[in-house]
């Protein structure tokens, strides 16, 4: 791909999104907007206990309610799924403990929100009334809530039969002796403990499911607010033993996912099983408070990180031990989330020796799973916080400690100590640009002045330089990590007789603008208008092959498949043109939407003529199949490695502990950009989600395992009034991994922002003696940190 000033080139331009009009006018259909004839509603009775034996389910009162038709306990439902349990597709170790996870619990409820009974009703309101009227008799069992408590001697067990709360331990220690030696010889050792609080993903659209049976032929259509219709189809087939070719999965317009719709949920399996059994459409729509426990949560780790550095602050070794909270069960990729960060705890720094070990732990809480960044925000947080501690120990600025340790621009491809090959980057150039944009010199002068004045409004500067692994993923690498599927993506480019183009993509957008971006890629290659390219997706009947959207993979894997399929179309078109021009195909060039003989512009065949010729098949080269269509399945040879430096400037009210982000600069290298407008939008939203972890969001459980932050009044998703103004720029080093040179941007902001903001808060408070602030840095938390650092009463 070339990014030229040619007005005919769409890639690299701020092209407005074709997705917008339907969304702006209310025409777009989200799952709850649908209605099927004869549908019945499911209401779910959820455990109010974190851990309890279910002694009985009494549905009599519910059955008195007009519209309630059935009340079903887990035991009543068990025959519907037989041996099938909710799938975990990532057994990261051979000895990983993966307890059977039924869609509705039969004997023991293991977290608040665990489904324990189901109400069927003829309306939304009756289902809610029925669920509220079912009474469940519980015999409470001891609950384990805290992950460190879960691994303590004598801790109550989440799964009695496993005999332990540990699911697995996964090490990555290429050379243990070298790590020990580096620490033994280090001039500076930084040793930190950080807590990644649990987060509620909270896409604005809660989840929803409608399962519609085709009774005559044993078919099933599953409509779900999911990021992964393709994976869901396979998993539904396996879980419920329905022939896969009888299942169609459709993701309608999906109102955001952020990883939490990358799953196979109890409600999906439940509605499918009931629909097949009863022969009618069965639907469920999640309530927001229900989502707090029914949908996976993110993060949930205790991190121990140590850096060994020489006297100049050059890091020689990184040693990390994690405790990761799985919750009560393993969902689709729950155990793999820490592994997605496992390779990145040395950050963007040239470090020789590496030691990582993760122990994953069951607790009586909602399962965790992928949430925007999935493992990489946690890793980046730990190393970027620790680098600031190292800077203090060495006595240099945060930017200097980073510069001394960056992987050099001429070191790519770079073999990392965690055994990855980083593709490209110029980390120092990125940092320099960010520092200049933030005008750190002036900010630090202001900071010094306020410190000298003893102001109660202290300024802090926080840097975060990150690198992430995206473009998930080379299938062979996934195999080495025991992941249950590949990492390829599929695309079909189909030229219609009138030279309009259909693109069928296995990527499944839910806000990312794939239709716009994919049309730009195809239009540029074919020399046509993007409006003449339709992009079809998210329905396995239309797009049967794909691995969907997560992990910043869509453009670098799915977009590359589209790019390559378009090349294949052009290859065939070239043969047709050569045939028509009676020229050698090597003598043809494709220019401005037509094949022409090099140096002879008068001898040209426009693309439209080739499209029609392929359709009529009246005069094609001997042996050529009619029609102009190509399919590509692209398996990336490597990950991509987006990187960047973000700088947050905060003002802390030292009297109240309140933190305001007063400036935010983001410089990212996501490789070449197809649509910079969309890239910026991803950065904005990602940064706010990362900043929200730093300052606002926390899925709070009390010691009994009751979740306290159930609704959006208590779980503080920030509004426009809290959001900072973002100043965004990029520095491009194209990725050599794929032909477009793209890397991915979906998670970058979230990865970078959290440590940038907390580093800034700690920087602001350094004169008070504060060296760490736990997340979220709420006013009370900051105020107490100041008090404790100053030895005052808290």
């Amino acid at each position: 791909m070339t990014m030229t000033d040619d007005p005919a080139t769409h890639m690299g331009s701020h092209r407005l999104r074709r997705e917008d009009p339907a969304l702006l006018t209310g025409e777009a259909q989200f799952i709850d907007d649908m209605s099927l004839h004869g549908e019945i509603w499911v209401g779910i009775v959820r455990s109010t206990e974190a851990h309890a034996t279910i002694l009985g389910v009494d549905g009599r009162a519910a059955l008195e309610i007009d519209g309630v038709t059935e009340v079903l306990s887990g035991a009543d439902l068990a025959p519907l799924w037989g041996e099938g349990a909710l799938p975990c597709a990532w057994p990261v170790t051979d000895d990983m403990r993966d307890p059977a996870h039924l869609p509705v619990a039969t004997s023991v409820a293991k977290y608040v929100g665990d489904a324990v009974a189901v109400v069927l009703a003829d309306s939304r309101y009756a289902a809610a009334d029925g669920a509220a009227a079912v009474s469940v008799d519980y015999d409470p069992l001891p609950a384990v809530v805290d992950i460190e408590a879960a691994v303590a001697e004598g801790a109550p067990l989440v799964h009695e039969d496993l005999g332990t709360n540990e699911s697995y331990t996964w090490p990555l220690i290429p050379d243990p002796k070298a790590v020990d030696a580096a620490f033994a010889g280090a001039a500076h050792v930084v040793s930190e403990r950080y807590v990644q609080q649990r987060l509620i993903p909270a896409p604005m659209e809660p989840r929803g499911v409608i399962a519609a049976p085709g009774v005559a032929n044993g078919e099933l259509t599953l409509y779900s607010a999911t990021q992964i219709p393709h994976i869901l189809k396979v998993m539904t087939a396996v879980t419920l033993d329905i022939p896969e070719h009888k299942i169609r999965v459709v993701a309608p317009s999906v109102g955001g996912g952020f990883g939490c719709k990358l799953n196979v949920y109890a409600e999906e399996i439940l509605c499918c099983a009931l629909a097949m059994d009863r022969g009618v459409p069965v639907r469920w729509t999640e309530g927001r408070s229900e989502a707090a426990t029914a949908t996976i949560q993110g993060r949930g780790q205790v991190q121990h990180i140590e850096l060994a550095a020489d006297a100049d602050g050059k890091v020689q070794a990184v040693r990390v031990k994690l405790l990761a909270d799985m919750g009560a069960y393993l969902q689709l990729v729950t155990p793999g989330v820490p592994l997605l960060g496992a390779f990145l705890y040395h950050g963007c720094y040239d470090v020789a020796h590496y030691s990582f070990e993760c122990t994953s732990v069951f607790t009586n809480k909602t399962p965790t799973d992928a949430y925007r960044g999935a493992g990489r925000p946690e890793a980046t947080y730990a190393v970027e916080r620790a680098m600031d501690s190292l800077a203090v120990a060495v006595g240099v600025t945060p930017e200097e400690i980073r510069s001394r340790n960056f992987i050099a621009a001429d070191a790519f491809p770079y073999e990392s100590c965690a055994e990855l090959t980083f593709d490209s980057g110029d980390y120092q150039a990125v940092l320099d640009k960010a520092v200049a944009m933030a005008d750190l010199e002036s900010v630090r002068a202001e900071q010094a002045q306020r410190r000298a004045d003893g102001s109660n409004r202290q300024i802090g500067v926080g840097l975060s330089s990150y690198v992430e692994m995206c473009g998930l993923a080379p299938s062979r690498v996934l195999a080495s990590l025991n992941y249950g599927a590949g990492g390829w993506e599929a695309a079909t480019v189909r030229v219609l007789p009138t030279a309009k183009v259909q693109v069928i993509t296995g990527s499944t957008p839910h806000g990312q603008g794939h239709e716009t971006s994919w049309s730009m890629i195809v239009a540029d290659k074919l020399g046509i208008d993007p409006d003449d390219v339709d992009v079809l997706h998210s329905d396995t009947a239309i797009s049967p092959t794909g691995l969907d959207t997560y992990g910043s993979r869509s453009l670098s894997v799915g977009g590359t498949a589209v790019f390559m399929a378009t090349d294949k179309v052009l290859d065939k078109a070239r043969l047709i043109a050569a045939h028509q021009l009676e020229a050698n195909e090597d003598d043809l060039e494709y220019f401005d939407g037509a094949f022409q003989v090099k140096g002879t512009p008068t001898a040209a065949v426009p693309f439209a003529a080739i499209a029609f010729a392929a359709f009529t098949a009246h005069d094609l080269p001997d042996g050529m199949e009619p029609n102009l269509e190509a399919h590509v399945t692209y398996d990336p040879p490597n990950f991509t490695f987006p990187n960047g430096t973000h700088i947050a400037v905060v003002e802390v009210d030292t009297e109240t502990g309140n933190v305001d982000i007063v400036d935010y600069v983001a410089v990212d290298d996501c490789g070449n950009q197809v649509n910079p407008m969309i890239v910026e939008g991803q950065v904005h939203g990602g940064v706010l989600q990362g900043a929200a972890q730093a300052l606002y969001e926390d899925a709070v459980y009390n010691e009994d395992g009751q979740i306290v932050t159930v609704n959006l009044g208590d779980y503080l998703v920030p509004s426009a009034a809290e959001a900072p103004v973002y100043r965004v720029a990029s520095h491009v080093t194209p990725s050599p991994t794929n032909p477009m040179g793209v890397k991915g941007i979906g998670e970058a902001g979230t990865i970078a922002a959290t440590p940038a903001v907390i580093n800034a808060v700690v920087d602001a408070l350094r004169p008070t003696g504060v060296t760490d602030v736990t997340m979220p840095a709420s006013p009370q938390t900051v105020w107490r940190a100041i008090n404790e650092a100053q030895g005052g009463a808290s």
Binding site: G287, S289, S719, E722, P779, Q780
Partner: protein
């Protein structure tokens, strides 16, 4: 979430509303803007069996001024307080506090009478009315009675209103003295973690979310009256109070915040 079922009655007048309340006893609740009640009903924290809708009583939507007293109809919406030229002139604190309630959509529906009757200790307008020394006019089967704001808030979500009474009017004196309202929260749309209202140059001071009810900070008022500095007066703001502990603040932190924001409010209101 879905509220439980209830019977619905439309009040044709305040008298009619009162008689409906009398008919249905304590099972009935008045529905005005609904922005306090409906969220509680959706979580089934409240499940009245009868709702008496007073939201159509447009004759109780007014802001008048006579002889130095401003009279505000109970059904006056927060946004109407916010944009009232009369209040901007004669009682700017009330308009400014109203502008900080919830968000614009909430202010379009929520009513002054409704928020007072709800008696949420974390609400803004009850505290403002307290600091201003307002009088609340309640209508019952026996006619109207006046209740001083200081006597109105009797407990956690409890007021001096009888089961068969409704607020019809709120009266405040035109206020010319220095005033300020400090609202501290983590998100702009949220209730105050702590709020402080200062009226009449410190003669009226009240606290939000520092106890079971909106509270008059009498010790602060006395200190200001005795000539104390803003800092000295604010130092006693939390004395003797038992504020709640929740996700955002424990009692100690709330006491600290009360002192900080009382000082800031007093200074902004002109107390040296």
């Amino acid at each position: 979430m879905i509220p439980a079922s209830f019977d619905y009655e439309v009040a044709e007048s305040a008298e009619h509303a009162v008689s409906l309340l009398a008919d249905h006893g304590d099972e009935a609740k008045l529905l005005a803007g609904g922005h306090s009640l409906i969220p509680m009903m959706r979580f089934r924290l409240a499940a009245p069996t009868v709702l008496v809708d007073v939201g159509r009583l447009d004759d109780l939507r007014y802001i008048n001024s006579a002889n130095g007293t401003i009279s505000i109809g109970a059904l006056t919406r927060h946004s109407e307080l916010e944009h009232s030229a009369l209040l901007a002139e004669s009682c700017p604190m009330l308009a400014s506090v109203a502008a900080l309630v919830g968000d614009p959509a909430v202010r379009h529906r929520g009513t002054l009478g409704g928020t007072l009757a709800h008696s949420d200790p974390a609400s803004d307008l009850p505290a403002a009315v307290l600091a201003l020394g307002a009088t609340i006019v309640a209508r019952g089967p026996g006619g109207d009675r006046e209740i001083a704001a200081t006597d109105f808030f009797t407990g956690y979500f409890e007021s001096a209103l009888a089961d068969d009474e409704m607020i019809v009017e709120v009266r405040v004196a035109a206020s010319a003295g220095g005033w300020n309202y400090q609202k501290f929260n983590r998100r702009a749309q949220d209730w105050a973690i702590v709020g402080v209202a200062v009226a009449e140059g410190g003669a009226g001071v009240s606290l939000v979310n520092m106890g079971a009810t909106p509270l008059r900070a009498s010790a602060v008022e006395a200190a200001v009256a005795a000539g104390a500095s803003a800092g000295d007066a604010a130092a006693v703001a939390a004395d003797g109070l038992q504020p709640p502990t929740d996700l955002n603040a424990d009692a100690d932190y709330r006491r600290h915040l009360a002192r900080v924001f009382t000082q800031r409010a007093l200074k902004a209101a002109g107390v040296a």
